[in-house]
Symmetry: C2
Subunit: 132 residues, 2 copies
């Protein structure tokens, strides 16, 4: 199966639940943004027997740690995740809380001129807030 090796190679056992979540998250034409609640709904739509909410949280966090998902830095009462793990940025529509991908090429190179001793840059994320 498509995702069994991916999981095994990450040291994650390919359980039924994880494989199903992989299907929902990664077997799509396009990447997308989601909250855990939205993901839970998607999973319920896909199957009849449900996956425990705790498992969904565990899996999402495991996948994030392995780099298969990214958290999006936005102030919201819920945490937003992104299946697009390439370097990119986001529009954030303040009116409805929706996120839109901004390709790196739409932003141009960002040059951080200041350095912090003993630290290295892990990521640079731009959030562009939109209003009417």
């Amino acid at each position: 199966m498509k995702y069994i090796d991916k999981l095994r190679n990450s040291g994650l056992r390919p359980t039924k639940q994880r494989l199903l979540i992989c299907e929902v998250l990664f077997n799509n034409e396009k990447t997308f943004h989601f909250t855990v609640n939205e993901l839970e709904r998607k999973i319920k739509d896909k199957i009849n027997n449900k996956i425990s909410l705790a498992t969904i949280y565990n899996t999402v966090h495991a996948f994030e740690k392995k780099g298969y998902l990214k958290q999006i830095p936005v102030n919201s009462n819920q945490t937003y995740f992104d299946t697009n793990i390439t370097d990119h940025h986001h529009f954030y529509n303040l009116k409805d809380g929706k996120l839109i991908d901004l390709e790196n090429s739409d932003v141009g190179p960002i040059n951080i001129k200041r350095k912090i001793d003993g630290k290295k840059i892990k990521s640079i994320e731009v959030l562009v807030k939109l209003e009417d």
Copy 2:
């Protein structure tokens, strides 16, 4: 008094509580980042009689709406605010969750090439995550 007019001009009544919170937030050499919990502690340190947590939340949100504070887009279980309301960005130290200001001049101009119909850009915020 220093902050009475500021509040009145914003349509906010200059109550004892709001004036005290102004002192704590705005009467400093340097701007700073804070969570509501940290602000509550600062207020307690400053006076003996306490301000209700609900009032602190109300006030922080009122100040944010008026543009006297900014929320910082970071994924954390608490909301971070900034008394520095100029255009600027942040380093985010993943190890300890601390934020460091990045002046606009340290980042250089950011040119968002893509437009969204009917929307205008309210702010552009860059978060630079740091690791060891």
